[in-house]
Subunit: 327 residues, 2 copies
């Protein structure tokens, strides 16, 4: 495989992870359809193992290692979902896993990493500290670095969610598929899968206004990395990876930039109507549809709800505040 | 049909509601299996239309009316889920629906009733006021009374959830099926379905300690109705119906009485691990398993998670309090 995944890599990933990953259901809600003015198909990745789509890419990367590589274990840095996913993937193969976690990560995600038996390495919330910690673990253990979104096998694995979503459509096909974008792993895998399997379908990325460097980068034609993220979407704070930028530039998906307040409202609706616990980084895709009704009116729209790992003690205060504000 | 449903009525209900109801998924969680020490299969009725299993019984009753009866509409009293379910069922048939709601009902449930186009009649929270309001609507409109749990077609409809759960087992069968018990509609339908389809499977009812009159009634051999409910499980506060008592006495299911604090802890686990928004009246079934590990150790256990209609602004405070208490 080159540094960029191709469709054959997505197909190989689907076969490789099938014994381990959950084929998550696609949920519908007539009331949300009516609200949005289009036909919504929600791919429910909170129901994936370890609570997010990240298990797909992590599992693909772990099971693609040869025996000798696998014996040395894996290491990654992650603010949460990829760390938990890699920890669980490593456990399915019985190998060691190290996760470097910056300060400020969501507690529910740390608990997942620990529960799956990985070794946690805390570090300061800077890219330098994170990379240094990863390098140290690699030097000490020989562990394979499984980057959360630039690794081609991770991108290929993430593409399997879109494959399943497209296959759920009973042949009618989708007008658009929406996914959140942070580092760009899910966006990349989705672009590759959709372009090959359903070229007429638009891929639309949803990005928080407080970390909208993907929209800016694609517009500028160069990768912008000098920004300070400020968003409730803790999974979407990182800068897009270099290979992700290259791949996304070629596919040129539309990007919708969403304000956090709209993401919170969308999250509330998904909890209330879909009865699914989704994290802000997931709800943003639905918020994008609600923010741009004209772009999707009457269309058949697939959304990948990416994960559901939230701190129940913290987020609900937002709901309560939102409820008070909306009367 | 007599006043008690038979298995043929459950089969007829399954056929009658199939065009309207959702065949909800059965969810699994390895981490919850490990925690409970048994194999858990969660029938996810929060994903049912109108957010609870109640749609099954309401839909069955509405579509069993002949044209002349249907033209007069339907009326019921309900503190929430049955009201919303009947409102939606009536809408699927294009007929009028009246719901008498006592003061103190959960706002999320009232919103559902209104959203589905039913006429809401508020009354005081006494049985006398409720029955008087229902009688008044019946006298004025000729509407058919669809009682939330004593109506035999409602009981038969509720039995379809257990039918689907049993069918999901790939022929291996369940050692036990757990359902919450309040008025006894779901419990009755489940007993009828399980006895006919899988006689070796135990039916176990979960009942809140603050409204444990089913356990007391079955033990005493007479229906106890003089109690003041005090439980967070707003769907389980009512006294068991007379026909429900008759049917349950014949089937003699085990009853596990659960404290609210354990139900809240179980609800939190289901939100966190299963990523499903469940209401307290649903989580109690899982709490019953956790409260009595010896009774289910190593077994294959089905649980009907009955609904997910909660006020997001209110319940989360409980989670936060629970989180603080548990460190």
């Amino acid at each position: 495989m080159s540094t960029l995944p191709e469709f054959s890599d997505v197909l190989a990933a689907a076969a490789r992870i099938a014994p381990h990953a959950t084929a998550t259901p696609v949920l519908r809600s007539r009331s949300l359809d009516a609200l949005a003015g289009c036909e919504l198909h929600f791919k429910a990745e909170p129901l994936q193992r370890a609570g997010s789509f990240k298990f797909r890419g992590a599992c693909n990367a772990v099971w693609a290692l040869d025996e000798q590589e696998a014996a040395r274990g894996v290491v990654t840095h992650s603010s949460g979902n990829h760390g938990g996913a890699l920890a669980l993937a490593a456990r399915t193969r019985g190998i060691d896993c190290h996760v470097v976690v910056p300060e400020g990560a969501v507690e529910a995600k740390l608990a997942g990493i620990r529960a799956y038996g990985a070794t946690l390495h805390r570090c300061e919330a800077t890219i330098e500290a994170r990379d240094a910690a990863c390098a140290r673990v690699q030097a000490e253990t020989g562990a394979n670095l499984i980057h959360p979104y630039t690794h081609p096998l991770v991108m290929a694995g993430q593409g399997t969610a879109a494959m399943e979503l497209l296959a759920s459509g009973n042949g009618d096909g989708f007008d658009a598929v929406l996914v959140p974008v942070g580092g760009g792993g899910l966006a990349s895998g989705t672009c590759v899968a959709v372009a090959a399997r359903s070229p007429r379908t638009r891929v639309v990325l949803a990005e928080p206004a407080g970390a909208a460097e993907t929209a800016a980068s694609l517009k500028a034609g160069r990768r912008i990395t000098d920004f300070t993220p400020d968003t409730i979407c803790d999974g979407l704070r990182g800068a897009m990876g270099a290979p992700n930028f290259e791949l996304l530039s070629a596919h040129a998906p539309e990007v919708i930039v969403v304000e956090d307040i709209d993401t919170i409202a969308a999250m509330r609706l998904l909890w209330q109507r879909l009865k699914l616990v989704v994290e802000p980084s997931s709800a943003i895709a639905f918020a994008a549809v609600l923010a741009r009704p004209d772009a999707f009116a009457g269309q058949r729209v697939g959304l990948i709800l990416s994960g559901g790992n939230v701190d129940l003690g913290g987020l609900p205060a937002l709901f309560a505040a939102g409820e008070a504000a909306s009367g």
